[in-house]
Symmetry: C2
Subunit: 240 residues, 2 copies
Amino acid sequence: MSLRSDPDPLADALLRPVRAGNAFEETLARLLQAIRLGLAAPGERLPPERDLAARLGVSRVTLREALHALQEAGYVESRRGRYGGTFVRSLRPTHPTPPAPAFAADVEDVITLRHVLETGAAEAAASRSLDPTTRRHLRTRLAECTGAGVADYRRRDARLHLAVAAAAAAPSLTAAVADLRARLDALLDAIPPIGANIEHSDHQHRAVIDAILDGDPQAARAEMAEHLAGTATLLRGFLT
Amino acid sequence: MSLRSDPDPLADALLRPVRAGNAFEETLARLLQAIRLGLAAPGERLPPERDLAARLGVSRVTLREALHALQEAGYVESRRGRYGGTFVRSLRPTHPTPPAPAFAADVEDVITLRHVLETGAAEAAASRSLDPTTRRHLRTRLAECTGAGVADYRRRDARLHLAVAAAAAAPSLTAAVADLRARLDALLDAIPPIGANIEHSDHQHRAVIDAILDGDPQAARAEMAEHLAGTATLLRGFLT
DNA sequence: CCCCAAAGGATCAGCACGAGCCCATTGGCA
DNA sequence: TGCCAATGGGCTCGTGCTGATCCTTTGGGG
């Protein structure tokens, strides 16, 4: 008998589970994340069920199960008839997501992956010649963060970081950052809300966006790295 | 009617398909990639079906369908009885995978994502204090590349790059690099085999690994970036 | 020499999911 | 005022997938 429990990282990467869960769970997670990131602002309407189901590659039955769950949790509200639809509720959910226990290994995984993905995205975005729409998007998201209170800061921060990833114009990279953000949010849910360093974050955000808009990849990477280091320290501190 | 076909990268990232395909297809793809990367060397045995099914999070029936497909394609061979199992065949498959048509957008996506992930992984690996096993692994993989012919170069190259990712000790990052490699291999299948610059690649590989083993993150990143640029140019040239 | 553990091979019931279809509701528009 | 298009609500049927159970093969050890 060997005592090793199989510490082969290659095998672990290659033979990891093919599915993260059942269709319902994954759909629910996606929708939740989409709402958290403000794909539709409070009061706004989500795409019609038929469109959503098609985009998520899931049957309408499954999608509706997920929507019902969200409705019961108080995230959305459905209205029938023409010009009806599923609307995001403005009030916070009645059953806030209970913070899941965080494992140290997962924390380090998220921190490392985030550093790699997001500094890389910032660099890539700064390396491209951005079209006016993208430039405006970045400025808008930055401005939204600057004016945010503690309550809404995380959502706007997420949108800004997503915008940076999107500016790199690599769909897979954007998707990876979105997925990662979901994991990061789950970790952040488990630590007390800190409002102290929002101002500090805002300065860093501005520096990142300026470097990207100026087309300075090195600076964009460096500023993003410094920014991420703050969150990393926070996570390590609370979730040892 | 608006003419825009929905160019919202945030929505695209958040509402992308929940499943890449059915369980059989995904299982087949995983096994194929595992074999291509030499999870088990030719003549060696894959894990027992029950273990494999558990690790892939798939029923044994589905796993066996995938294994049968691989068997018919000539990749593996099954033997019954104790000390039996599913063995990787040494001969090349009878039905080589037909190269899929490559789309320019996908090529740029892979190139960008690869730059981000793999330069990031190299930097992260160089930033850690690597344990002796990992250091030896890196040296071994490097040596394997140096001695490879045209036929086997790609597999060994893939293993080296995977080893670098694994050295970063972030499972998600390793998984992401493995997934990316599958997409990259699909693109490389569509271009004629080039044997000319293997020597050049080997020098770059050595520089990357040296930087990692020396604990020099900047150098590791820079060397990896230069190395990846070569493949990127190759891909852009053949798959415009 | 025989038994048994470990592997692949096969089958079945049950459920989750998808595709398609129709119904119910609503507000704008002719 | 009535029609109609667009939306959510609900149903059924087919099937892919799972979990369990049992069978078959094979080689090593008692």
